[in-house]
Symmetry: C2
Subunit: 367 residues, 2 copies
């Protein structure tokens, strides 16, 4: 923990589609919450990146933006990518993957929690107790293959997955840290290693390194699950999960599935954390089908910003930022549980502006 007296600078990357709609809403809420909590104001600096900017400039992630991200205290990210705008070779514009690699954002943190007031997806009433965190390794695994794949004679294609000891250690340590924080709040304090160690060497190695790390955390418990069985149990009994840690590709699939259990992407925040940097973005994409209509649900963006405030609070020893995060989360909860506003994706009619207004007006109730 470092005390920091000057203003914290946030690199803001709204991106494309609904990213550009939920981001201004989010900044408004963060300003209101930090003010109410008596926390230091944050300096937001908006930067260009994404598919639309690529179409205008030929650059999807300008060096100046990347540089600003490196120098900032945290990165707030909307969503990027657009179906019709691609690189000349036909590949998609997904600067979020570049940022993960460039900034070493090795831990994809995806908290999954049911919010009272939302329609339940699973019939089992215990689904209301869903509260777990998926930690996705984000710098290697199958995604190591990105840009390295090989197609031979238009007949065979190969992609290689990489698991390193250091990569597995750091993400596993990270997962145990989260489990410890959660244990203080009465959670089980368990980390599940999700792999396919019964078939793949790399996954057996992942499990082995996980076990070595787990041995150093005797105050916490661990277990293992094969990814297929875990996917089944995620539908059957997700309320039994605490912290999960897994390989990049598995984590990509499981985090979307997990978001589905709590009603979809509209309520799923995420954080991409590295040793030095933290990037916070809703789990949803740019949603071309609804973009431009002002009807996106900004809740996941709000909750991602709350994760950012918590992270900044811990990093810079500024507890009032964590207070602001609690206010924001509480305001989202209050809005939904009192049905002050129901997002369109959950059958309500609150558009982005109305959701934002309701959440801001709920800040005082969350006090």
């Amino acid at each position: 923990m470092t005390m920091k007296n000057d203003t914290l600078t946030i690199a803001v990357l709204p991106g494309d589609g609904i990213g550009r709609e939920v981001m201004p809403a989010c900044l408004e809420l963060v300003n209101a919450a930090t003010t109410m909590a008596g926390a230091p104001a944050l300096a937001f600096q908006t930067h260009n990146a994404g598919a639309q900017y690529y179409a205008e400039s030929g650059d999807a992630l300008p060096a100046s933006t990347l540089d600003a991200c490196r120098k900032s205290d945290a990165i707030l990210f909307g969503a990027m990518g657009w179906p019709d705008i691609r690189f000349p070779d036909g590949t998609e514009i997904i600067p979020q993957l570049d940022l993960r690699m460039e900034l070493g954002l090795f831990a994809g943190v995806r908290p999954i929690r049911w919010f009272p007031g939302l329609p339940r997806v699973l019939t089992d009433p215990r689904a209301e107790q869903i509260d777990f965190v998926l930690v996705r390794e984000q710098t290697e695994g199958l995604f190591y293959a990105r840009g390295r794949g090989e197609i031979r004679n238009d007949e065979e294609a190969y992609d290689t997955m990489q698991i390193t000891r250091s990569g597995t250690q750091r993400v596993t340590e990270f997962a145990f840290d989260i489990a410890r924080q959660r244990k203080r709040r009465g959670k089980p304090g368990n980390v599940t290693c999700v792999d396919k160690a019964n078939v793949f060497q790399s996954m057996a190695f992942f499990r082995k390194v996980f076990d070595e790390v787990a041995d150093r955390h005797s105050d916490l418990t661990k277990d293992h699950a094969y990814v297929d069985a875990l996917a089944l149990n995620m539908v059957k009994k997700p309320w039994t999960f605490d912290v999960l840690v897994t390989e990049n590709m598995f984590g990509d699939i499981l985090s979307d599935l997990a978001a589905g259990l709590i009603g979809g992407m509209g309520m799923a925040p995420s954080a991409d954390i590295g040793d030095k940097h933290g990037l916070f973005q809703p789990a949803h994409g740019t949603a071309p089908d609804i973009a431009g209509k002002g009807c996106a649900n900004p809740s996941a963006m709000f909750l991602s910003a709350a994760m950012m405030l918590d992270w900044l609070a811990a990093k810079f020893g500024q507890p009032t930022l964590a207070d602001a995060a609690r206010l924001m989360e509480g305001a989202v909860e209050h809005t939904l549980s009192t049905k002050l506003a129901i997002p369109m994706e959950y059958g309500g009619n609150a558009n982005c502006a109305e959701m934002t207004r309701s959440v801001i007006s709920s800040l005082s109730a969350a006090r």
Copy 2:
């Protein structure tokens, strides 16, 4: 279609754990159903394989069993593997993977259908319309890496995924065939290619070959989905799915998830189909936690055997075998929808013997 006059021979591999419990129940039901349908009796020949047999003999998949599988007209498979019984190098005993490779069982067919009478897993009432088929490629993809993985200096591990043109063509053709059969029964006739073409060369290649095949089936439709988005939609709107085709590892994860949507492995049959051979097995494993107690739900085994009868009927031009399959499926449906017997895993108290008795006694109702 080949007419065949001599008796069809079925290689029966009960395997381990509850495989040994559900298999005899299944053979009893198949005999009763074929008799009632006036279909030719099948000759069942039981063979050794699996973890328990490995513990006794040092051989998990004897050459004689493999040979018998090759010579048989179809293979009926229970479940194999056991936590405590492993090869000397610590790897698990999973002869099902060897059989897929040895016999070229390239298409893993996993029909997912909700059965009236079962508790619904999803709150949305449209979940009662769930009826799709997942086709998992089973001879390459990430599983190509099995036995080929590499660990370097206990620091890095690598596994390589392979996608071939021929492998993708055959499994895609297979998926379009299924879609065509389903279209005759009033289904949409659509095949969804599930991939991660936005990140991986191999997956872009998979999609490209899929598209080439799709172009040859202008009577049917196609679409694409990224595997993460598909996992989300599998929870959000699985009733919109028709036929899905995907890579081996993705298919492994998604088929377990899909089974979860209809209440778990107890109702999920599967078929592993190749150019020459067909292997039919419940999607569940050996269930060490309940094995030996006689309480396993044999329904998935029954439904897998019904898939076998359909496949034999088409292959050998014996429509009465398909009649027997309809009787078996109808009897399972009747048992569940009338609550004649409720499997323990769905909160009832019917053990394996009681379920079997009820299903057999329901054959006449299914007529």
